[in-house]
Every structure is written in C-alpha cells, then in structure tokens.
C-alpha cells in the first residue's frame, strides 16, 4: 500500500513530523514501512515560463530559438528542437542549472553557436506519462496552457503548479489488517501513533430527480458469498479526464488515471479501502443486476480482453442475459465505461474473501480489488464508500446522482464483544498497565469500552479474544517497553536423543577423515535415475512427485544421495579442483504405497571422492566408521550387478549375519562419464538408520594380556580369483580362540609365479590368556591352519 502524505493530511494533520520519524513510529505501532519516496525531489529549478518570441536558428533547419518570460527580469533564451512550440505557449522551463528525474542535469551552453540557458521539458522529462496528463503528447514540449489556470504566475515552481510534490510511504500491510489498505485506515493508525485528532466527514450525496427504482433492481442469490450489495445510479454522465489533484493522488498511490468515473472508483478504493465498480448502465439487459454463481462452462470476457471459462464456484454479477463482472475480481468488457457512456451504475459490495480468492486464483487474475476482498472486508464500509463516490461525482461535475440507493445486506453481523481482562493481559504480556491506560488505547483505536466489555469495531474482524486485545494494547503502548525477564518455568533437561547424538558423532567422524560436508537440494531431476543407470525395475525409481515444481530439474524428491554427491564432484571437477572428498548425510524420501500417506524420510550417508585414494582407502574409512559404532564382524560381498558401480570393484557390506549396512565401490566409469569425470570415483553409501539400529556403544573393559604373543608369517600360493577374505576366514576357524589376529601384509602376482596365481602373506598372531604358548603349541596351530587351507581351499604354503 502506497500512502500519499498529502492525502493522509486530509484526515490527520502530520505537520511537524519528519518523514523519517513518521515511518519509524508507524512501524513500531504495527504498520510496517518498507520504504518512502519524496516525489518531486528529483525536479530542481524547473518553472512555468511563457514563450514570447520564436526565431529560426541561423545554422539549423530544425532548431528554434525561444525567448521566455520565466518571471525574472531578463528574458531567457533557450534553443529547442521541438516543433510544437508557439508564441504564447506556457511551458515547463528547466532553468540552467537544473535537475530532472533520472539524474539528468541541465547546464547552460551553446547549440550550434547560439546560447541556450536551459531546456523546455516534455512530460516524459518531468517523469510523467500521457496518462497523468491526458491529451498531451510526449513527442514534443509539454504545452501547459490547457492544464493550468491561465493566471498561473510565470516563474512558479512546476512541482507546485502540477502538484508533483508529495511524500509516498510504502507500507507492508499484513493480511490480518485489510482495513489498513486505505488512506482512512492508515490515518486511524497515524492518529493513535502520534496522538493527533482525526477528521472524517460523512460524505454528502446531492441527489437529483428520479428514483433508482426507475432504473435498477438487484437480486442477490447467495447471501453467504455476497454479504452486501449496494448500488447507486449516476445519470447525465460526461466522461472526461479527472482533475489534476485527483490524477496526482492516484499517481502517488501507483494507480494509472483513466477517466473521471473510473478514477473515482479507484480513488474511493484507495481512500476507503472499499473496491468499487462502475457499469455502463446502457449495457445492462433488463435493468436488473443478479448476483449469482456462474454456470459451469459459462464464458466471460474481462476488461483486459481475456476470455475466461467459469465454473459454478465463481460468483458473477450478471444482468438478465449475461455475466457483466467477476464478483470482486474484475468487470466485464461488455459493460465497460466508454467515452459515450451517459448512465453509470456504481457498485459497492462485500463479497466473501475465500470465494474471491478462489476465483481470482482459478482464473489467474489477481487484482487490487481481489487482493483486498480476499482478506475479508467490512460490509459496514460499503455505503460510506458508495456515498463518497457520489460526492466526488458532484464535486467533479461528472454527472448527477439519481435519488435513492439499493442496499441488499444479507450478511450483517453483530459486533464482537470481548471481556477486558486487565489482570490477565498484564500477566500475559509481563507489563503493569492500568485499566485507564488500556481503555484509552482501545478507544483511540475505535473500540468501544463500556465497563469490562469491549465492542470491536466492524472493520476489525481479526480481533476475537484476549490475545488480540493484548496485542492492540501492547503495540500502541510499545513492544519495546516490555521488560526482558530471566526465563523461568519448569526446567527441562535439554538433552539430545541417542539418534541425534549418533548423527553428530558420525558427522564428526566423517569430517575427521577428510570429507567435506555438502548440502544439496532434496528435489532432483527424474533423469538422475538414468544418470546412475538404475535398473528399470529399481524401487528407487518411484519418487514423491511435486505437482507444481519450479522445473523438471527439481520435480521429484530424491530417493538416493548418490546422484547429488556425484553432482557435487562434477561441479568441483569442472572447476579444476584436483581432488575432492565430500559427503552428505541427509534425508531421502521413499514414497508409501498409499499416496495419502507420508513417505519415509530416512537419513542416508553418501561419501564420495576422486583423486584422494582408491577402493581400499575408502574401505579403510568405512571400516573405521563401523568400528567406531561398535559394529563388529562385517563381511564384504563382491557385488557385480549394481549398475551404478564398477562390476569388479563393488561390495555389499553385511553385518550381523545378513543385515546390509551399505555398498562401497568404484562408480561405474560410464556413470562417472555422465558426470564428466574421467578419474576413478569411489563412493560409499551407508544406511544411517540401520547403522544406528545395530550400533553398540556398550563397552566393558577387557584385561590386558599377561602372557606374550607369538607371531608367524605365512605365505600361500592360490588362484588369483580366490578372495583373501575367504582364506582369512578359514585360518580363523581352523584354530579358534588362540588366534589373536590375522593380518594380510602382502599380495604378490608376477613373473616368478605361475599364471593366474598369486601369493598372499599373512602375519598370524597367537596368544593364550593363561599361559605362554610353547613353540610346539604354535606349530600345532600352524599345522592345523595349513591342513584346513589345503582341504577347504586346496592351497598350500609358498616354498
């Protein structure tokens, strides 16, 4: 809402309050100021002048030399290229040095050798448009003769002559205060904020002859959607531009002037906050207005020329044959005010907010009118606004108001009453105000207070109970006068849940390993599934789908973090970052089979890198995570069929016998290529929730060994395909608890071995808890190991 201070001063005199103070204090009583603009401040040293003489420029065909009377002793000479000037013309003269909108400065100089002490201005150069000054032409100099009184003193500041000076304050009005979307509403706030008197006179309608019933009847079919419908008829209308003062106020408010009747409706809307509409009476079939719901499939062409297909949820204003307006949204082209219009119907109505909002939304046309109605307007305001419009018609000489008015008022409501609970309010706010202080504030805000009963004014539908009253009182008294009290109340133990602690622990651990945490969007492109080559029947291809996405790229909720982490690697690779090691620990969204149920949102962990190691680097890190979580005895099962991963370098990780606790491997080179990365990319993908479920932080001290250990290094020759994990398992099982550790320290393949074989070397450490093992005992263990390996895997010791 843009408020003209000149306009505001009609109701509350703000003299002596600086614009800065005005804005600050209004903000602190609840009318938030976004910004303010001083209109006209960009026009300096421009006055009204009269052209006394025009001569041709000696050296130019199109330049003319004008002599001007600008009220100064000596005439001013200005060279102009415009052709529409004439002797006797009144023109805006920028007297060098002068400033014009857009930071233009005018200096004295010579044009083809002839002195020119300023510039004659067009409307555009004054920051105006052809709508602000109807009938003018921006292609030439702005000829003022028909716009200002002929006795305007020459030399008078153009800003005063054209009423260009004003302060405009832009308010952010919250949706609960539609009453403040008006000059009067804000005047009411200014009155209380600055404790100044406010005057709003009741509009006086000068009625002429005839009766409105000779012209019009109104039927409201749905009193719930149309709480009130008031109308008056204006006859002998003469359509012409509205006067300068009205146009300039509309301009300050950001509304384009059109003609006197339309301008009046806009002016009243801005002043009273009540949207109005004007119909051309001659276009109404049957002299009958019917407020009804549209037929399904009914067609309607709005003022802006757009065709709309209506449904029964759209309320329309119709005559006997057709819809003439979409109620509260926009009028129809068929009943628009035109140059030839002679009889006008003014509508001032109150429509249901939700219904207007729905219609505006479904028809894709939010207007000044609809955005006011949808917040819920005060039906009590209709008649005053309607009368004000008629008063303005009279003032402007735009026509005559036919006697009487139509007022169908089906939604009248009794004003709400609330008990004034001083003590409760003081306790609730933490202040100590007297009943008198509270009463004064409420009365200033037009609440009626009788004893302990508050009557809420009709324009404050937002006020319904104690909290609302408390807010009214405290915003005027001052939010910042509330003391900050030390926080009390029942103390709760601010503890994290085990899951939250676990999450923090994993973050710290993974960061500690050199991974940088990233945050990516939760919605992704469905194409990601193909990028990581998910199989066609993969469950992960079923997404939570956004019905109104910003675009295809952000249209489905992710089911995997792998594409997101790959995108991060892609971004860094593309920016020549030579090694990147990143992770994300965040939600994926797994849809329920029932679309009416919420999806699962488990956390997953994706850790990926390039240029920072290989499979075993990553495996070591993952093992450290498991170890930290107390997850013991993990198995890595080679996985050849996960299409995202390299078929020969991927493993599923199994714990507790058969619980899958993740996948680790090299990203399939073809997938990496999709992301433009030619270096090998490694990724571990771990299910946070499972890790949490099987994590085990119970710890119990085990006494340190009392007897020495004995280690033996053994090398075996085996088939290359044989996994060392299998050998290790056989070794461990063959001896049992005397083995303390089995550590692989070398794998050798090369010329000295037969083809397709490899040598693997283990250091096996033996220890007993209760004695020092003898050589014989250890040798017996080694023999058992060798025998088991020979028998189960058919491999022997390397000689």
């Amino acid at each position: 809402m843009n408020l003209s201070i000149n306009w505001l001063n009609d109701f509350v005199n703000t003299e002596g309050i600086s614009i800065k103070e005005f804005c600050d204090r209004m903000t602190y009583t609840g009318s938030k100021v976004e910004s303010y603009t001083t209109l006209g401040s960009d026009i300096v040293n421009v006055v009204v002048g009269k052209i006394t003489k025009i001569t041709k420029h000696p050296d130019s065909d199109h330049l003319q030399i004008c002599m001007l009377d600008d009220g100064e002793e000596n005439e001013r000479q200005i060279v102009t290229g415009a052709q529409n000037v004439f002797e006797g013309a009144l023109v805006p003269v920028a007297k060098a040095p002068a400033t014009l909108p857009g930071g233009v400065t005018i200096k004295a100089g010579k044009l083809r050798g002839v002195e020119s002490n300023g510039m004659l201005c067009s409307i555009g150069e004054l920051g105006l448009t052809e709508h602000d000054m109807p009938g003018s032409d921006n292609s030439g100099i702005f000829i003022l003769n028909s716009y200002i009184p002929s006795d305007t003193p020459l030399g008078k500041d153009i800003r005063d002559v054209l009423m260009l000076s004003d302060e405009v304050v832009e308010f952010e009005i919250t949706s609960n205060r539609p009453d403040c979307l008006s000059v009067i509403g804000l005047a009411r706030e200014a009155k209380v904020t600055f404790d100044r008197p406010m005057t709003v006179s009741v509009p006086k309608v000068t009625e002429s002859d005839q009766n409105i019933s000779d012209y019009l009847s109104v039927d409201v079919k749905d009193g719930r959607l149309c709480k009130r419908y008031a109308a008056r008829v204006i006859k002998n209308v003469k359509i012409e531009p509205s006067p300068l003062w009205m146009r300039m106020r509309l301009r300050a408010a950001g509304v384009r002037p059109i003609n006197n009747i339309v301008d009046i409706t806009n002016y009243v809307m801005l002043e009273y906050g009540q949207p109005m509409h004007a119909f051309d009476y001659s276009m109404l079939d049957g002299s009958h207005i019917i407020v009804r719901c549209a037929e399904n499939g009914e067609k309607f062409i709005s003022l802006d020329g757009k065709e709309h297909l209506l449904s029964s949820s759209n309320l329309v204003i119709a005559d006997e044959k057709k819809a003439v307006a979409l109620a509260g949204v926009m009028g129809g082209a068929n009943s628009e005010i035109k140059e030839e219009t002679t009889v006008v119907v003014f509508e001032s109505a109150c429509f249901d907010g939700a219904s207007v909002r729905l219609t505006a939304k479904s028809q894709g046309m939010r207007t000044e009118s609809s955005s006011r109605f949808e917040k819920g307007l005060d039906p009590e305001n209709c008649m005053a606004a309607l009368d004000r419009a008629c008063e303005l018609v009279n003032l402007l000489g735009a026509g005559e108001t036919v006697c009487g008015c139509i007022d169908v008022y089906k939604g009248k409501k009794e004003p709400a009453t609330i008990e004034l609970e001083c003590e409760r309010i003081n306790k609730f706010l933490g202040v100590e105000l007297s009943k008198e202080q509270m009463t004064k504030i409420l009365r200033d805000l037009d609440f009626k207070v009788e004893g302990d009963l508050i009557k809420v004014p009709s324009f404050r539908e937002d006020v319904a109970e104690m909290n609302d009253i408390a807010e009214e009182i405290i915003r005027i008294y001052g939010y910042n006068k509330i003391e900050a009290t030390p926080f009390k109340g029942n103390v709760k133990a601010g503890a994290l849940t085990q899951r939250q602690v676990f999450k923090n622990r994993l973050h710290a651990l993974i960061c500690g390993m050199g991974f940088m945490q990233c945050n990516t969007f939760s919605f992704v492109s469905p194409k990601n599934d193909d990028m990581i080559m998910l199989s066609p029947d993969s469950r992960l291809r079923r997404h939570v789908i956004i019905s109104n996405p910003l675009g295809e790229d952000t249209s489905v909720m992710r089911t995997s973090l792998i594409p997101n982490v790959l995108e991060v690697l892609e971004h860094n690779n593309a920016h020549n970052v030579s090694r990147a090691c990143v992770y994300e620990l965040s939600h994926v969204y797994i849809p329920d089979d029932d679309p009416e149920k919420l999806p699962q949102e488990p956390y997953m962990i994706a850790m990926g890198f390039y240029g920072a190691g290989d499979f075993y680097t990553l495996k070591g890190m993952v093992e450290a995570i498991f170890s930290d979580c107390g997850i013991k005895k993990t198995r890595y099962v080679a996985c050849t069929n996960d299409p995202t991963f390299h078929p020969g370098r991927c493993a599923n990780i199994i714990a507790r016998g058969s619980v899958n606790i993740g996948t680790i491997g090299q990203i399939h080179p073809a997938v990496a290529q999709e992301y433009g990365i030619s270096a090998p990319v490694y990724m571990a993908y771990l299910p946070f929730e499972t890790l949490f479920d099987i994590s085990d932080f119970k710890k119990q001290y085990k006494s340190l060994p009392k007897f020495p250990a004995t280690a033996r290094d053994l090398s075996f020759i085996c088939e290359r395909e044989l996994e060392v994990g299998e050998i290790e398992e056989v070794i461990r099982k063959s001896v049992g608890k005397l083995i303390e550790s089995v550590e692989l320290f070398d794998i050798y393949t090369g010329d000295r071995l037969e083809q397709n074989t490899k040598s693997v070397s283990f250091r096996i450490t033996f220890r007993a808890a209760d004695r020092t093992l003898t050589d014989d005992e250890v040798n017996a263990c080694v023999d058992k190991i060798l025998a088991s390996l020979q028998k189960q895997l058919n491999i022997g010791i390397r000689k």
């Binding site: 939700a354 909290n467 915003r475 939010y479 900050a484 601010g494 993974i510 500690g512 940088m516 019905s547």
Partner: protein, 339 residues
Amino acid sequence: MRDLLNKIKTDVTERLAAVSSEDELEKLRVETLGKKGTLTQVLRGMGALSSEERPVIGQLANDIRSYIEKEMANKKEALAKSALENKLRAEKIDVTAPGTTVRVGKRHPIDQVEQTLCDIFTSMGFEIAEGPEVEYDTYNFQKLNIPENHPARDTQDTFYINERILLRSQTSPVQVRVMEKQRPPIRIISPGRVYRSDAVDATHSPVFHQLEGLVVDKGITMSDLKGMLTAFAKQMFGENTKIRFRPHHFPFTEPSAEVDVSCFVCGGKGCRVCKNEGWIEILGSGMVHPNVLRGCDIDPKIYSGFAFGMGIERIVMIKYAIDDMRLLYENDLRFLEQF
C-alpha cells in the same frame, strides 16, 4: 718418586686438554691407568719405599690417581656432550618447509550455524524435535490457524505433492506435532529443511533451513519471550547484543513480533552489513495463538506459550558476509574450505 708422580699428573693434565675424541681419551687412559700405564708402573714400585715414605707417597699416588680418573670422566662427559651437539647440529631441518598434510573435512556452514544454535538452546533446556519434511497440509497450515483460502498462504508459495500433502513451508508444523503428543511443560526447538516455490537467485532458494522454538507452560509471558531471546542473542552474537521487537502478524502467534538484533559488526553505529540501520532483522516470534493451543487440546486459559523461528541461511550469510545464497548449495570445495 714424588716428582715422578707430580710429573705424571702434569703430563696427563696437559695431554688431557688436547684430547679431542673418545678414542684418544681411551688411549690416554690405557697409557696412564692401564696395566702397563705410567701411573700403574709407579705404584708397582711402591714396595721399594721406606715404611715412613710409603703411606705419604701412597696417599699422594692415590690422590693423583683419583684426580686423573675424575678429570678423565669429566673429559668423557664433555666429549659426549659435544658429540651430541654436533650430531644435533647435523640434524637441523628447515622448519619453514610445509608439514605433511592431514586432511580434515568440515561441516557445511549451514550445519555449523545450526549446530551452534542447537547448542545454545539445548543449554537453555530445550529439546530438539524433528518432523517430516513431506507433510500434511493440516499440520503445515490448518492447525497453525491458516485455513484453506487464507491469504497468509500467499506469502509462502508452497510445493504440493497432492491436495493433502505438501513440502512443509516452515518448521512450525513440528510445534503442532509435539503439542499433540506431549503435555506442557514443553520446551523444544526444531531445526530443519523447508521449501518454498521461489526461483533460485542471490537471496532466494527453494530449499532452505529454519529453526523453530516453542515453549508452553503455565504463566509464560511475553516478557519471558523477550528475556529468552535476549539471552539467546547475547550467546549467538556477543555479550553486548541488544534486541528490539517490531509488531507484526503471523497467523499462529498473537501478539506477534519481528525481532531485530543490534548489528554485531558495527555495534549499532551503522555499517554495510546492517545497511546503515544498526539493526538486523533475524527472527519472527510471538505468543502462541489460542486457536493453535486449542487445536492441540491445550487450554489457553490455563497455559500460554511463545514461539519463534529464524532462517538459518540468513544468519549464515550475515555472519560470514556471504552475498549470494547460491554458494551455499553449490558445494564448491574452495567455498566450503573457508569455514
């Protein structure tokens, strides 16, 4: 003999002074104190002395012997010391050469700030509550006093999954979920992702993070809200931080306030960060709307409460002077490494 002993003492002392290695020292020791050493030889000749002389010379010989032994021990120590010094000198390294890189990752700046916020609030006795991001319309709007077709919905352009399910546009639905399950006293915060249908630009992201707080108990007042937020602001932005309230409207609180903190860069004098205002808008807050309480079966006549919410990205951006929100979701390592 006395002269001989004194001469040995003088000789050895002289030679000892010239010794520069352990080998030389050992040689001198053998020559002097060894089986065939000069001093040993002299002592062997003691038998030829008279019984009066023997104790006197014997005493002298023993003194000289222990003197020499002591001197040699000193010398040995001095040699060892200088040998060590030489060794250390030879081992000198260039301490300005770079250390072996130990790579440590970092939390994302959003998470770092979120963590700080959580630490502050948990220290004030708040629990951390979580709720779904894909949420029912009921929780995101209706139970927060924003009925269907309420214009307040416009300020939060929402992504919908279907008519009843959406991507939460605020963390506030968690308030409702907590109040439905838990009876007062309630003291929770709820950080998390929220979604609004804003195109990506320097100041907007369709995905961002909020942190919501809720306190419900008997006798909670607006001055408590102010006290708690003041304590929070001091911990978050520094001991001298002040806060101020501006009236505002949120459907789920009444009264509602926007909260500014004094600029922690300039201390309120006005600077680039606070756009010369001296204040930075940081959060929204208010007293829980009675409709919200009633909707969760909590009687507003008995209980009251306050709620507050803030955008984490906004704090991150102000705190680190980041001028483009997109950086936070690009995950460029050269950016992330800076935090």
